[in-house]
Amino acid sequence: MISSQPLSPIHGLLEAMHPLWSSETSEAKRVIRIDQRDEERAAILGLADLSHQNRAGAKGRGTAEWLSKLGVTIPSQANSWCPLPSGGLVARLGNTEFLVENDATLVEKIMQTQRAPGVYPVLHQDAAFGLCGARVNELLLQTCNIDFRMLDAQPSKVVLTSIAGVGITILSKTNGKYPSYRIWCDGTYGIYLWETLAEIATELGGGCIGVDAVQ
């Protein structure tokens, strides 16, 4: 049910950039900063790796009720998400599947609690990326058939689609000046998708950034 990833699926690519890593030992390592120009790139088009975050997945007819009993507020509609009080989020993928991304406490609780009948674990060894900046929609229009500007009017919507041929889950976390999105894909596609998005981001004047610069 849980995937606590010691290393990001794109760890090797990140390491080659010689970034500033987090110093925590109990959590998966994450890139705090690539270089001094992170904020500058983030304003134009920033791509950050968020694969280190704790996440858990479950699906089945009994999952909504089971998560509610654990104190997790769940979205009422399919393909929507809601924030959690501790800063994470719950995404409802279809009618009966859920993705919880939060601090280790809640994710551990979900992992260790006995599952109810009709609740099945979903392994999430995902690559997770953050995209932000003024030109982010130009990148998405180049790689996907969906116009993500519609998410500005429906901020709680989750979209399951494909980007550059990879099946992804995407949602809008825009709450500042520029649009911002979160993307999850199967970890085995992580390197390909990161390289593809990073190449386009660089062409558009942005590039890779650390988690501190993600808006």
């Binding site: 399919a78 393909n79 993928l93 279809g94 009618n95 058939n145 969906i146 979209v159 399951l160 689609t161 494909s162 099946g167 992804i168």
Partner: protein
Amino acid sequence: MKIMTCPINGARPVSEFFCWGEIRPMPDPDTCSDDEWAAYVFNRNGAPGVKKEWWCHTASNTWFIAERDTEKDVVLNTYLFEGEIR
């Protein structure tokens, strides 16, 4: 671009889907004749017309049924499967 409408995810380009073929109820192998069983295993209906087919939205792995007029190449209806195929 051809558009298919997933009952959960809405209208999407058909490149996000694949077709698993016409819904074909399986005859009871214990009671059907050899000819009926052979027809089920080996034969497919290639005649154009309105057909019910299994389709899958690959990005979300949503399986659903599409009623499609294969003569006019028009999708008439899509909906989630409920119950058993009879």
